[in-house]
């Protein structure tokens, strides 16, 4: 079997995978990506390169992905629909795959009002589900969104999407996951999990519809570094669910970072035991240096 990426190969072979995230810098400095990559090398099967995350201008995810490829590490290039229309997005799919990108994560993207250019016009010509379908059709049918044919090589890419078990309405989220799978998603990275009980209920629904057999689900984990971060996640970040007890534990801890680490480790252990979870996606915001220890302590291993 010819796999498009190592991530696809590992998942297809039934290995429990780890993906982590590298946020590109707010400057033109490739070494910022390299430094983070060196830190994380060996502690992830593939690495998400974010696309102007939270609508803050950063080095492009395509450039960041290329820097990673030059280090023989495998990127998951994130693509949002906020800044490019269907012409720009399809063009970048061709460019990225020509340069060796083999995993793309399709997202709609945070609204521009959250970032550092709130006066910008948001594009949102298409949404994440449509983007999945467009790239799938470029790859499998050799056609662009308009129906026009690609000439020459088709983009060879493993397609991913996000899922949020904590978004409202809760009952609709599994249907939305199904839509993403139907549109072309082959792997899923979920919103950061804090409320395991609710996540398990979502996974029960996912399994009851057999969706865990159709897509590889990677559960998201974001260690809480401080009381301030726990507060932000609990009260200000839409679509996250930090249970009261967990919030109290961090708040009352003499060393909140240590407690946050313990909770993250515990969460990973519990997620590993949930049927249908094929990996963990760790996003340690401003705390990347914690990832190697977390991966080791959780008893996770990568192919490389």
């Amino acid at each position: 079997m010819n796999y498009r990426s190592n991530l696809e190969k590992s998942l297809s072979e039934g290995r429990f995978v780890i993906t982590t995230e590298i946020g590109p810098p707010k400057g033109s400095d490739a070494s910022k990506i390299r430094d983070k990559a060196i830190l994380l090398e060996g502690y992830g099967d593939a690495f998400n390169i974010t696309d102007n995350q939270t609508a803050v201008v950063r080095m492009s995810s395509l450039a960041g992905s290329l820097i990673l490829l030059q280090m023989d590490m495998e990127p998951i290039m994130q693509m949002t629909c906020r800044d490019r229309n269907r012409i720009g997005l399809q063009s970048d799919v061709l460019g990225a795959t020509a340069l060796g990108v083999r995993n793309i994560l399709c997202l709609t993207g945070d609204h521009q009002s959250f970032g550092n250019h709130p006066a910008a016009k948001g594009v949102f010509d298409i949404d994440s589900i449509q983007l999945l379908q467009i790239i799938k059709n470029m790859r499998d049918a050799g056609i662009f969104q308009s129906g026009d044919s690609l000439l020459g090589k088709r983009p060879c890419v493993f397609l991913g999407a996000a899922a949020n078990p904590y978004a409202d309405p809760f009952e609709f989220q599994v249907d939305r996951l199904r839509k993403k799978i139907d549109a072309g998603a082959e792997f899923i990275q979920t919103q950061s999990v804090y409320n395991i009980e609710k996540f398990s209920r979502w996974m029960d629904d996912v399994r009851s519809q057999g969706l865990d057999k159709k897509v590889h689900i990677l559960a998201g984990v974001t260690p809480l570094k401080s009381v301030k971060m726990a507060e932000r996640m609990k009260f200000h970040v839409p679509g996250t669910d930090v249970p009261d007890m967990m919030y109290e534990q961090i708040k009352n801890a003499s060393d909140p970072a240590k407690e946050g680490y313990r909770i993250a480790l515990q969460t990973i252990r519990e997620l590993k035991d949930i049927k249908g979870i094929h990996g963990i996606h760790i996003t340690a915001l401003f705390w990347e240096e914690i990832i190697p220890a977390l991966v080791k302590d959780a008893g996770l291993t990568t192919r490389i």
């Binding site: 521009q112 009002s113 709130p118 006066a119 910008a120």
Partner: protein, 212 residues
Amino acid sequence: MIITKQKNFNELLRCIDSKPVFLVGCNQCATICRTGGKDEVLALKEALETQQIQVSGWVILEPACHQLNDKRMLKDHAEELNKSTKVLVLACGNGAQTLAELVPEKEIIAGTDTLFLGEISHVTEFNKRCVMCGECLLDIYGGLCPVSQCPKSMLNGPCGGSVQGKCEISLQVECVWDHIYQGLKKRGALQALSVIQKPKDWSMAGEMKRRI
């Protein structure tokens, strides 16, 4: 004014799917556009009845986007509304949504496509004049809006694609930059165009609510 265009009759028939339907028109924009005034509503009623579709009643709202007026006027049609399963609205997208809020138990069919905010240039001709960007720049351009009238919304001069005053995307479209230039020239105010206009603040276009 909100400029609309009536949807294709066969498309409407498919949406109605032989269910009894109540028709709604609007006495303002849709009347002037001839898409949802009394004449158009009655013509549609007749056309539907020819297709054996029961029309339980009709009303011309004053205007359809006015929730309080709608509530009052729909009271007089409660029985006719009751007999229908669907409500077909010949007004703009706003009018159709106001109806959807007022009669949530009914299926709403939008009878028109809403095209733009524009002026009535002739009795039967309408031209786009505003995209409701939330921050009016008209004073810079001698009263003509490049944001709405230029397909590229160019703020610092024409793109170079127009030919004899006609836009490159269609000969039906006049190049607004031609008019802006000629207008300012006549007034001896061309120096206004030498200023580099900064990227527009689009955040105001995202306003979703206003209270006074």
